[in-house]
């Protein structure tokens, strides 16, 4: 069974086309402000990909900087959505 963080890392890497940079991301890797590819359209693509892959529904008020701060915070958010 794969860990959520591994799936989230893969989705972030493929959505943003990070190539080799994707594989070296840990849960502490910062996302917002640290990855130039992560502009507003990429954030939406990323949310859409996460919604489709994990069959979750993200609310607008959940689109906050703390969710997208690091790979770990994004994975924790997905885990919490899946538990609900």
């Amino acid at each position: 069974m794969t860990l959520v963080i591994d799936d989230v890392r893969r989705i972030v890497a493929t959505t943003l086309q990070l190539g080799a940079r994707g594989g070296s991301m840990s849960s502490a890797t910062p996302l917002l402000g640290a990855i130039p590819e992560l502009d507003s359209m990429a954030v939406v693509s990323l949310i859409t990909a996460l919604e489709e892959q994990f069959e979750i529904s993200v609310e607008d008020d959940e689109i906050g900087a703390e969710t997208f701060e690091t790979l770990g915070s994004l994975a924790a958010f997905v885990e919490q959505k899946m538990a609900n």
Binding site: T15, S40, A42, V44, D60, E62, I63
Partner: protein, 286 residues
């Protein structure tokens, strides 16, 4: 300008207000004309991301004997007019002029090929104009205009988050402004309240294109996965007696990736269907 596969003719087609930019791909000399295909492009930025793939598929269709018309709808691409004046009903009028032009030039029987939101608009338009259309080719169709609009408005929400760390009022607040008749600008695209309400009302499940052959293609990141929303609509359509051929290929979501990418498996599957499956379909209609 001629490309090495056949002829490519850029021209403007007059549709009030103004003119629409069109590209016509014709089969190379020596290849018999089998029919026409009218392309309906996606909404906003997805149209630009997908331009390369659309051109690649149009060339392949032309090589196998189809005349392909790519029209930039009102306010999109290289066409006249402003997006802030565009409506779904206006785009349907554009398509009607394009279809009449194709049929008038003898490029029938005519199929409509739509990508993403273009596939939804194509289905909606064909449901009212269906008599002159022989089939639909859907690439990764958007199942719900409402959801599509929400995702589009989220670009603005995400922009607020990047600027200030919070999402502001979210897509809900933007929808309220649209409903009140405002025109909103999102990521450089202006959408008016009529377009928004027309988008909200479009659902693929509601518009089975009666009597038409449908070739439906989905791109998934890994082999074996299926988009559940699409599978449901395909089932509904088949249940309603539609002839729906559904094929899933593996590749990248080229209509949304940061960098422009190709999806060779989709080109191969679509070209194969056009040169094999459609032949049988035409034969069975004869």
């Amino acid at each position: 300008m001629a490309d090495r596969h056949g002829q490519l003719e850029p021209f403007y087609l007059s549709v009030e207000p103004g003119a629409r930019f069109c590209l016509l791909h014709l089969p190379p000399s020596g290849v018999a004309l089998r029919g026409g295909i009218l392309y309906v492009h996606p909404f906003a930025e997805e149209m630009n991301k997908a331009r390369r793939m659309a051109a690649a598929q149009a060339r392949r269709f032309a090589q196998t004997g189809y005349a392909v018309l790519q029209m930039d709808l009102l306010g999109c691409g290289d066409s006249g007019g402003e997006l802030r004046d565009a409506t779904v009903s206006g785009w349907c009028r554009d398509l009607q002029v394009a279809a009449d032009w194709m049929l008038g030039r003898g490029y029938g029987p005519l199929r409509v090929w739509g990508l993403r939101f273009g596939a939804l608009v194509a289905s909606h338009w064909v449901s009212t104009y269906g008599n002159d259309i022989d089939g639909l080719v859907l690439w990764q169709p958007v199942a719900s205009g409402d959801t599509h609009l929400t995702q589009f408005l989220r670009i603005s929400v995400a922009g607020d988050m990047l600027a200030s760390g919070t999402a502001g009022g979210g897509a809900g607040a933007l929808r309220k402004r649209l409903a009140a008749g405002e025109t909103l600008e999102v990521a450089g695209y202006e959408i008016n309240s009529t377009l928004a309400s027309e988008m909200n009302a479009l659902r693929l499940a509601d518009i089975p294109p009666s009597g038409l052959a449908v070739d439906w293609f989905e791109v998934v990141p890994e082999a074996g996965s299926v988009a559940p929303a699409s599978a449901r609509v395909v089932e509904q359509w088949q249940h309603a007696g539609m002839r729906v051929r559904y094929e899933v290929v593996t590749g990248e979501p080229f209509w949304t990736t940061v960098e422009i990418v190709d999806c060779p498996a989709l080109l191969e599957a679509t070209t194969r269907a056009s040169s094999e499956g459609w032949k049988q379909d035409t034969a069975s209609r004869a």
